[in-house]
């Protein structure tokens, strides 16, 4: 991926808005270019990239991001997809305010204030997306992912499952079996536990 480098255990993205730190992350100048530190301990997407998930995103790709929250991870994605679009879906009132604030500064972030379960409300707006990223720790998160995957052009996406949200009393293996069953309709390209960053989270890179 362009504008993304790895130094040691940290990732760095080329700052789209030089001199501005979005959520208090460190800024570092490397060869005269300003980069923003992307810590895998603070972002599941960063942890997925470090763990070897190849998202194959270009600078002009369009991504649908479910569970955008305050936009810390999305801001790094906006550094990478300089000429692309990132549709950030968020349901929380407090978080959408922060996301709107961020979108006003970064021209490739498109905030959507909606529930990711109600795809009818926004499916016509995001039909040019080529990749889906979902990080919503809900018990029905696989259903939400599959629903949203149906509106993605290339049917490709990364699902980060929080195993404790799906079943608290089951072991990791049992939950993974459950998730695999639910993802029967799609092809799992890669599956990995995000250890040591998020031991309870598992990443699934899928294509339709």
């Amino acid at each position: 991926m362009n504008n993304l480098i790895r130094i040691g255990k940290l990732l760095y993205t080329k700052n789209l808005v030089p001199g501005v730190s979005v959520y208090g992350e460190n800024l570092r100048v490397i060869n005269g270019i300003e980069y923003r530190e992307w810590n895998p301990k603070a972002s599941k997407l960063a942890a997925c990239i470090i763990e070897g998930f190849d998202l194959k995103l270009e600078a002009n790709s369009t991504v649908l991001y479910l569970g955008a929250s305050s936009g810390s991870s999305i801001s790094h994605l906006s550094d990478i997809l300089v000429n692309g679009k990132i549709y950030g879906v968020e349901i929380s009132k407090e978080m959408i305010v922060r996301l709107i604030n961020l979108a006003e500064k970064r021209k490739n972030i498109y905030p959507i204030f909606d529930d990711a379960r109600n795809i009818d409300n926004y499916k016509d707006l995001v039909n040019d997306s080529v990749f889906l990223y979902q990080d919503i720790p809900q018990f029905d998160q696989v259903d939400i992912f599959l629903k949203n995957l149906s509106i993605i052009k290339e049917k490709k996406g990364l699902l980060v499952v929080k195993t404790k949200s799906i079943a608290v009393n089951k072991k990791l293996k049992e939950v993974l079996e459950l998730v695999r069953k639910q993802l029967k309709s799609v092809k799992i390209i890669k599956e990995k536990v995000l250890y040591p960053y998020y031991p309870d989270h598992v990443g699934f890179l899928v294509s339709g």
């Binding site: 959408i96 498109y110 959507i112 707006l125």
Partner: protein
């Protein structure tokens, strides 16, 4: 659609999604924060007053400090530091008074909003307690799934688990005035649940219903 359209759409949806209920919960948060800060502030003022008026301050309550005036302060003859910084002390008292006034304002607003949103329920239980219950259950949209056992356990401190009667309802004035508090809690939560469901589905005040439900509770000794 441009990015600006997306932003405007999100902004519009945000402003239209804010309800009177949201406002009420936020005011409740502010009220709780005021109580916390008032208590902390009172403790510090008390320690400060101890330097000048030890006999008065050692037994003084929060209300004593709120009602205290500068003229009365000058009259108090107490041992302690002789050159008294009364101007500073008085400004602290004024701040304490302001917090108290804001608390009253918050309660007034909560009562107003609660009686608008839940006209029947707010006649049965104190609006402040009702607001706390509604916030704890996650808003009025959860009312249809509410049960009596769940309702009476809301606000129950963790160490009381297994005895679900010690919740917000247990601390209401009606229950505290009864001898058999556990039974009164059960009866009140029963009546409250009925009134909440009427409020949710009908949204109009029903005097007959309120009378009936209050009669149910008043039978308990």
């Amino acid at each position: 659609m441009d990015q600006e359209d997306f932003i405007n759409r999100a902004k519009d949806k945000f402003s239209s999604s804010i309800t009177e209920e949201d406002e009420m919960y936020k005011i409740l948060d502010i009220y709780d924060a005021l109580i916390k800060s008032e208590n902390l502030f009172f403790q510090s003022i008390k320690e400060f007053a101890l330097l000048y008026f030890p006999t008065f301050a050692i037994n003084a309550t929060l209300n004593d400090f709120i009602n205290l005036k500068i003229d009365e302060l000058q009259k108090i003859k107490d041992y302690g530091k002789k050159t008294k910084d009364l101007a500073l002390f008085n400004s602290f008292l004024m701040l304490l008074n302001q917090i108290e006034e804001n608390k009253k304002l918050c309660i007034k607003k909560i009562e107003e909003k609660c009686s608008n949103l839940f006209p029947n329920s707010s006649a049965i239980i104190e609006p402040l307690i009702l607001a706390r219950i509604m916030k704890e259950i996650g808003g009025s949209e959860k009312i249809p799934n509410l049960t009596i056992s769940k309702l009476q356990a809301i606000g129950n401190p963790k160490n009381f688990y297994g005895k679900p009667s010690f919740g917000f309802i247990y601390n209401s004035k009606i229950v505290q005035s009864k001898k058999d508090k556990i039974k009164a809690t059960r009866k009140l939560s029963e009546s409250l649940l009925i009134s909440l469901k009427v409020d949710f589905f009908r949204k109009t005040k029903d005097e007959n219903l309120i009378k009936k439900l209050l009669n149910n509770i008043s039978k308990i000794v």
